[in-house]
């Protein structure tokens, strides 16, 4: 019984419930809807909700916890001799059992115990799926019968349906909070485990980053080093390069669009700039790695400069291009929000347009522009694909944009893509980096939004 099948059966049952409820209410009222408290379809919804909500909840919970519970059962059923308490070996065995059960290739030879466990796994899975189908169907039918029995012309079906809908609406809006809680919890929890192995001081202020922990303690660099300063520095360097591109270009084009451009030009150029914001970042990454970086390197050799092919400059330049629309559209809004009277006052005193802009409008719009820059910086810090494809992997503490540096996001990706073991400091470090990233961008955003909002209120 696959998930889709059960879901389909459930939907059919719910729809059937709707029609049964509606016809029941009409029959009760002797065929005339006027005698009913609510219109007939509300009785249909009443039954459908009674049937749909509990069964869907059970289906969801059951499906989510099915695998972990079955795996626990299988693990407990393994003979004592195989359980030597080593979690790594345990997970290997479980992997074999899983692969065997789903017909994949296993890592080692298949012992009878593992074969038995796999059979057990398969049988538990089928039992669970079958039981799920039967239980859910039974509950659904029982719910329909119950709800149907409650129907009578005096039943305030509309009010009950509306109350339920309201509850659903509230649950949906709480999901936004749950997402934030989920993000914070998962980051904090995994980071906590990381900080049990590596002290926070070492992580935040250490100067050396080499997360490769060796398998054996006697290997070279066995301990790994988790000083994240080079990553922070690299992130800042690339963001700085990006802002050097996006800041002037974005701000100047915003000024031109808001103050100089004729309506026609504005109408054509604005959507064109928005195109830059709509291009997927992986495309920018490809562009940076295959066009910009080689171009810069060739130019560098012409001028006798040694530019690394994964230079911070290439990644930063392309990231700057990506950020231009953020800066320009936000600054454009802010500049447009400056009251016309300020402009007219300045022009009336004989100032030229550029003087008005430089001495009146920009100072008036400064807080908003700063806010838009901060939002753009937070974008740059959190941007992943461009740096993954165009920046380096080696942690390099340098301020020279011609060299390769690595960033926080690049390290998160490299640490988590591929094989993982969830108790090593190496994997957990990614979550600690994620926590730092989350906090920094959150602070930047909150400050930027507060600045922008406060400023907007001033002129409204």
């Amino acid at each position: 019984m696959s998930f889709t099948f059960v879901l389909g059966a459930l939907i059919i049952l719910t729809v059937a419930g709707f029609y049964m409820g509606r016809s029941r209410s009409l029959a009760d009222a002797g065929g005339t809807a006027q005698r009913l408290h609510s219109r007939p379809h509300y009785y249909g919804y009443f039954v459908a909700l009674w049937c749909g909500i509990p069964t869907l909840l059970i289906l969801g919970v059951w499906t989510m916890f099915q695998t972990p519970i079955i795996e626990m059962l299988v693990q407990n059923s393994l003979p004592e001799t195989m359980l030597n308490g080593d979690p790594a070996e345990m997970s290997l065995i479980m992997n074999d059992i899983r692969n065997l059960a789903s017909g994949n290739i296993t890592s080692g030879e298949i012992t009878p115990q593992i074969q038995a466990a796999a059979d057990h796994y398969v049988s538990l899975n089928t039992t669970s799926s079958l039981a799920k189908f039967v239980v859910i169907l039974a509950i659904g039918i029982a719910a329909i019968a119950f709800a149907r029995s409650k129907i009578n012309p005096a039943l305030r079906a509309r009010n009950q349906v509306e109350k339920t809908m309201m509850a659903i609406l509230i649950v949906c809006s709480v999901i936004a909070i749950l997402t934030t809680v989920g993000i914070v919890m998962s980051l904090v929890f995994e980071s906590w485990r990381f900080f049990e192995k590596v002290s926070p001081a070492e992580f935040l202020f250490g100067l050396e980053w080499s997360p490769q922990t060796a398998l054996r303690s006697d290997q070279v660099g066995a301990s790994g080093a988790f000083g994240a300063i080079p990553l922070f520095a690299g992130t800042m360097l690339i963001s700085l390069v990006a802002m050097c591109v996006a800041g002037p270009v974005g701000l100047l084009s915003a000024i031109y669009m808001a103050e100089y451009a004729p309506t026609k030009v504005r109408g054509a150029v604005k959507p064109a700039l928005e195109v830059l914001a709509g291009i997927p970042t992986v495309v920018y990454g490809f562009f940076a790695a295959l066009t910009v970086a080689p171009f810069l390197r060739d130019q560098g050799t012409m001028f006798g400069l040694d530019i690394s092919s994964e230079s911070a400059l290439a990644a930063g330049l392309v990231m700057g291009i990506m950020i231009i629309p953020f800066v320009s559209s936000l600054s454009d809004d802010v500049i447009n929000a400056v009251p016309q009277s300020l402009r007219e006052g300045s022009l009336g005193l004989g100032a030229t347009k550029s003087e008005t802009i430089k001495r009146v409008i920009l100072p008036a719009a400064l807080p908003g522009i700063v806010g838009s820059f901060m939002l753009a910086i937070s974008r740059a810090i959190g941007e992943t694909m461009i740096v993954v494809m165009a920046a380096g992997l080696g942690a390099n503490l340098t301020a020279n944009p011609l060299e390769a540096v690595t960033t926080v996001t690049v390290q998160i990706v490299t640490l988590l893509v591929g094989d993982q073991e969830f108790d090593s400091a190496k994997t957990l470090a990614a979550f600690a980096l994620g926590l730092v990233l989350f906090c920094v961008t959150l602070c930047l955003n909150i400050i930027a939004m507060a600045v922008v909002n406060k400023y907007r209120e001033q002129y409204d």
Binding site: P68, C172, V174, I183, L252, T281, T352, L416, L437, L442
Partner: protein, 444 residues
């Protein structure tokens, strides 16, 4: 008045006039400078816009010019003699015999027959390198599908390997030193001979649209990634659209102005600005490690992207709901509708175009998103075309990332081509949003 006073007044008038003339002279001189500054400033603005537009042009021309070659493929026409004794010596027509026959040798022999004078082992191997490793597979498929072909001589259009495809397109040419390229002079000569005999053809690259990923560039296609994207987007849409609209309706129409709703609002605004990779970390920690959902599956990818696009949809939907004038609500309430009926019967239908526009834009964002999917394992090398939301899959942008990382030169064109497909989808979606907005936009 005395003369003395008169002269004094005259002289003071004169100095005043002089001073005024001096001042206007200074202003005029300054004016020139100020107008120059004005023109300069304006030019900076035009320059900035020009730079931004130039970036777009360069980006698009680079991608299109490097991607276009991937839409054609080079094939070699070979008359392969499907001899009974080579394929099915016992004549059983047993499926496993048909599958396991040595088609490679068959195809290679046919090619070698074109050059009977090539006898050395090394040369023979160099000669057969012209053929793609998928050529034998194509013959095998044809035979398995139609065993009656055995015993006949069948004409196949077989793919050549990627290096020769590039040679045909002129990417690899004789200008580079022989040691620096992957096609030797001898191989080029053979290939030219084949071309003279009219066996080499260039046609539309159907492989690219009908296959999933492959290690061989000439056999790699984007159908697998496209299907993966489709399934992922379905999950995203199924989750984020209803949840987003419900949340927006509650916050805009029903929510009392209290602490909780304020927190929710601030939260949504902040979520919209959280880096996408953090959502990937959430998906990894919660969906995969905690709930044990399958890795690399569109199900998990869709859930993560749904959480990511939720703020976009909620913000857009709220704006659309806000734009519906209160008079509509009051009229409906006045006729005795309940508040829920007002929303479902009147406000929502009127706000729907705006909500749909926001949803499409959110979906376009999700379609182009890569980073969170890397976290949940959708970067695997997957040769099968996914058939459901729990099958391992990859999506278009991740496919772009994978190919961009690949050292094979032939993948560069394919990466650009995949980007072109991705951008086509995005342009289509955005155009749809614009059309929706234009067509149903109402001014109250």
């Amino acid at each position: 008045m005395t003369d003395a006073v008169m002269t004094e007044m005259q002289s003071s008038n004169q100095t005043r006039r002089e001073r005024a003339a001096n001042a206007s002279e200074a202003v005029r001189r300054g004016l020139k400078k100020r107008y120059a500054a004005e023109a300069r400033f304006r030019a900076y603005g035009i320059g900035a816009v020009g730079i931004a537009l130039a970036c777009i042009v360069v980006l698009f021309t680079t991608i299109i010019s490097s991607g276009l070659p991937a839409f054609t493929e080079t094939t070699i026409t070979l008359n392969v003699e499907l001899k009974q004794e080579d394929i099915d010596p016992e004549g059983t027509r047993d499926a496993s015999t048909l599958i396991n026959a040595n088609y490679r040798k068959l195809v290679f022999d046919t090619l070698r027959a074109e050059f009977p004078d090539v006898t050395k082992r090394r040369d023979k191997r160099a000669l057969t390198a012209i053929l793609s490793s998928g050529a034998a597979y194509q013959v095998q498929q044809a035979v398995v599908e139609d065993p009656s072909l055995i015993g006949q001589t069948v004409t196949f259009e077989l793919p050549v390997s990627a290096d020769f495809d590039l040679y045909e397109k002129g990417v690899i040419n004789k200008k580079t030193a022989e040691a620096d390229r992957r096609v030797s002079d001898q191989q080029m000569a053979w290939f030219d001979t084949l071309e003279e005999r009219g066996l080499i053809e260039t046609g539309f690259n159907t492989t690219f649209f009908t296959h999933a990923d492959s290690r061989e560039p000439e056999l790699a296609g984007i159908l697998g990634a496209t299907m993966g994207s489709l399934f992922t987007m379905l999950v995203t849409l199924a989750l984020s659209f209803p949840i987003g609209v419900c949340a927006a309706v509650y916050l805009e129409e029903f929510a009392p102005k209290n602490r909780l709703t304020q927190i929710i609002e601030v939260n949504i605004n902040n979520l919209a600005a959280v880096p996408s990779i953090v959502f990937g970390l959430l998906g990894l920690a919660v969906f995969i490690n905690f709930f044990g959902l399958p890795r690399s599956a569109p199900l998990v990818g869709g859930m993560v992207l749904a959480l990511m696009t939720l703020p976009t949809i909620i913000i857009a939907s709220r704006a659309a709901l806000k734009a519906v004038p209160p008079s509509i609500r009051e009229a409906a309430l006045g006729l005795g509708a309940s508040r829920m009926q007002v929303v479902t019967h009147h406000v929502l239908p009127l706000a729907m175009p705006g909500i749909l526009t926001g949803t499409i834009i959110g979906m376009a964002q999700a379609l182009g998103e890569t980073a969170p999917l890397l976290m949940i394992g959708m970067v695997a090398f997957i040769v099968d075309i996914p058939g459901g939301i729990t099958d391992p899959a990859t999506v278009l942008p991740v496919q772009v990332y994978l190919w961009a990382d690949s050292p094979e030169r032939a993948f560069v064109a394919r990466t650009s081509a995949a980007i072109m497909i991705l951008l086509t989808f995005l342009i289509f979606m955005n155009a749809l949003a614009v059309v929706l907005r234009k067509k149903f936009e109402r001014r109250w």
